[in-house]
C-alpha cells in the first residue's frame, strides 16, 4: 500500500493504491498553499469546512493531515467526477430555427450561461452537450446524427422546444419534419416551449446538472459502446483527375440554337 503523489495544476491529490479499485472510498484533497486565488477559495470553503469537519472527525480517517485542516475537502471519486463534468458543460453552437435565437440570448450578458460553466463550442469534437435548438427536417437528420456521433463521451442532449420533442406545430401536416429528435438521438432532458424562454433553458440546464450529479460510474463503464457502426476495409481505385480547367460553363449565356 504505497502513496502516489500527483500534481494537477496546483491541486495536489494523495491517492493510495487500494482506492483505485473502490471509487466510492473517501480520499483527501489538499489544496496548494499560496496564491491569491487559492486564498479567496479558502475563505468560501471555510463555511463548508465546518459541516464537513464534523462528519470527518467522526470517521477517524488515518490519512487526514490534522495540521492542514483548513484546506481540505473530502469527497468520493464518483462525486468529484460528476461535479467536474456538470460544472463545465460545453454546449455545441447548434441551431436550426427560431429556438436558436433564445439559445443565443443566453450567450449575452442578460442571461449569461457562462456563469454555469457553459462555453459555446463550434466543433462537436470539443462539445459535451448539444441543445437541439430548432426544427429538424429529414434533410437535416443525417447531419444531426453525425454531429452527435462526433461528440466524445460523456455527452448529453437537451431537446429544446416543441419541434424537437414531438414535432411541435409541424406534427400534424408536415411532409418532412422529424416528429421529435428522440427518433434520431437519445435525449436526456426535454424542454417544452415554443420557444422556451431563456429562463426556462437555464432551468433545463439546472435539471441536467442535477441528473449528472446522480450518475454512477459503474453504470457507464458497463455500458460501453463498441462496434456500433458497420465498418469495412475500403478498396481504393486509382482514377484519373477530373481537373479540366473549364468551370462555370453554366453561368455563361448560351443562346438557344435556332435551326
Amino acid at each position: 500500500m504505497g502513496n502516489e503523489f500527483r500534481c494537477i495544476r496546483g491541486i495536489h491529490i494523495y491517492r493510495s493504491f487500494h482506492i483505485r479499485a473502490y471509487p466510492n472510498c473517501w480520499f483527501s484533497l489538499c489544496m496548494a498553499k499560496g496564491g491569491i486565488r487559492m486564498v479567496l477559495i479558502l475563505d468560501y470553503l471555510d463555511n463548508y469546512k465546518k459541516n464537513i469537519e464534523t462528519i470527518m472527525n467522526s470517521i477517524e480517517f488515518p490519512l487526514l493531515d490534522q495540521t492542514t485542516k483548513n484546506s481540505v475537502i473530502s469527497t468520493t471519486l464518483n462525486d468529484f467526477s460528476n461535479w467536474s463534468r456538470l460544472s463545465s458543460l460545453w454546449p455545441l453552437l447548434y441551431g436550426t430555427s427560431c429556438c436558436f435565437i433564445e439559445f443565443a440570448s443566453l450567450i449575452g450578458s442578460r442571461f449569461d450561461f457562462d456563469r454555469y460553466g457553459l462555453v459555446p463550442r463550434s466543433s462537436p469534437r470539443q462539445a459535451d452537450l448539444i441543445l437541439t435548438a430548432g426544427t429538424v427536417t429529414m434533410k437535416m437528420a443525417p447531419s444531426l446524427v453525425r454531429l452527435y456521433e462526433q461528440m466524445p463521451e460523456p455527452k448529453y442532449v437537451i431537446a429544446m422546444g416543441a419541434c424537437t420533442i414531438t414535432g411541435g406545430m409541424f406534427s400534424t401536416d408536415s411532409y418532412s419534419t422529424v416528429r421529435g429528435v428522440d427518433k434520431l438521438i437519445p435525449v436526456d432532458v426535454y424542454l417544452p416551449g415554443c420557444p422556451p424562454k431563456p429562463e426556462a433553458i437555464i432551468d433545463a440546464i439546472t435539471k441536467l446538472r442535477k441528473k449528472i450529479s446522480r450518475e454512477i460510474y459503474e453504470d457507464q463503464i458497463s455500458f460501453q459502446r463498441q462496434n456500433r457502426c458497420f465498418t469495412t476495409n475500403h478498396k481504393f481505385h486509382v482514377g484519373y483527375s477530373t481537373y479540366t480547367g473549364n468551370y462555370g460553363q453554366e453561368f455563361f449565356y448560351q443562346p438557344p440554337s435556332t435551326s
Binding site: 437528420a141 408536415s174 411532409y175 419534419t177 422529424v178 427518433k183
Partner: protein, 158 residues
C-alpha cells in the same frame, strides 16, 4: 374594362388573356407557355425591370399547375410603381415553362422552389435542382394529390 398593359399588348398583337384585377388593383394576365420567353423580354423592354416574386400553385387536383410572376418597375423617385401579375397555366402531365432567369436574375431560387415543390420544370434554367427537399426525394410535395410516404421520422411521436 381592360387594363393598360392588356390594351398595349392587344395593340401590338400579342396573344394573352386578361384575368381581371385582384383585390389590390393589380391587373392579371394569362400568357401561354410557348410565348412566355418572348413576352418576358418584351415586358422587360417595356419597363418592368424587377421581378418581385415568382411562385407556383396547384389549381385543382387533377387540373392545371399555375406559375405566377409579379413584375414591377423600380425607378428612382416613384412611390407607387405600376405592377402586373402574369399567370401561366400548364398541364399536370408534362409541365414545362421557359425559364426567365436570363431576363430577371431573381428568378433563380424561386424557380428552383417551384420545381422542387410542384414539379414544374423550367427550360434553359442553368441549374435546376431541388432546393428545399433532399436531392434524392421522389415526388412533388405541394401538389394536391401528393401523399407523404410513411417514413419512420414522419410518423407521430408517442
Amino acid at each position: 374594362m381592360q387594363g393598360r398593359l392588356s390594351s398595349w399588348l392587344v395593340k401590338h398583337g400579342l396573344i394573352h388573356r386578361s384575368l381581371g384585377f385582384d383585390y389590390q388593383g393589380i391587373e392579371t394576365l394569362q400568357i401561354k407557355p410557348e410565348d412566355w420567353h418572348s413576352i418576358a423580354v418584351i415586358l422587360y423592354v417595356y419597363g418592368y425591370n424587377y421581378l418581385r416574386s415568382q411562385c407556383a400553385y396547384d389549381v385543382a387536383p387533377g387540373g392545371l399547375l399555375a406559375s405566377v410572376y409579379h413584375l414591377t418597375r423600380i425607378e428612382y423617385g416613384i412611390n407607387q410603381p405600376e405592377e402586373v401579375c402574369i399567370k401561366i397555366f400548364v398541364s399536370r402531365k408534362n409541365p414545362r415553362i421557359p425559364s426567365i432567369f436570363w431576363v430577371w436574375k431573381s428568378a433563380d431560387f424561386q424557380e428552383k422552389e417551384s420545381y422542387d415543390m410542384l414539379g414544374i420544370s423550367y427550360d434553359s434554367h442553368p441549374r435546376l435542382r431541388r432546393i428545399l427537399m433532399p436531392e434524392n426525394w421522389i415526388g412533388w410535395p405541394l401538389r394536391k394529390d401528393y401523399i407523404a410516404p410513411n417514413f419512420y421520422e414522419i410518423q407521430d411521436a408517442h
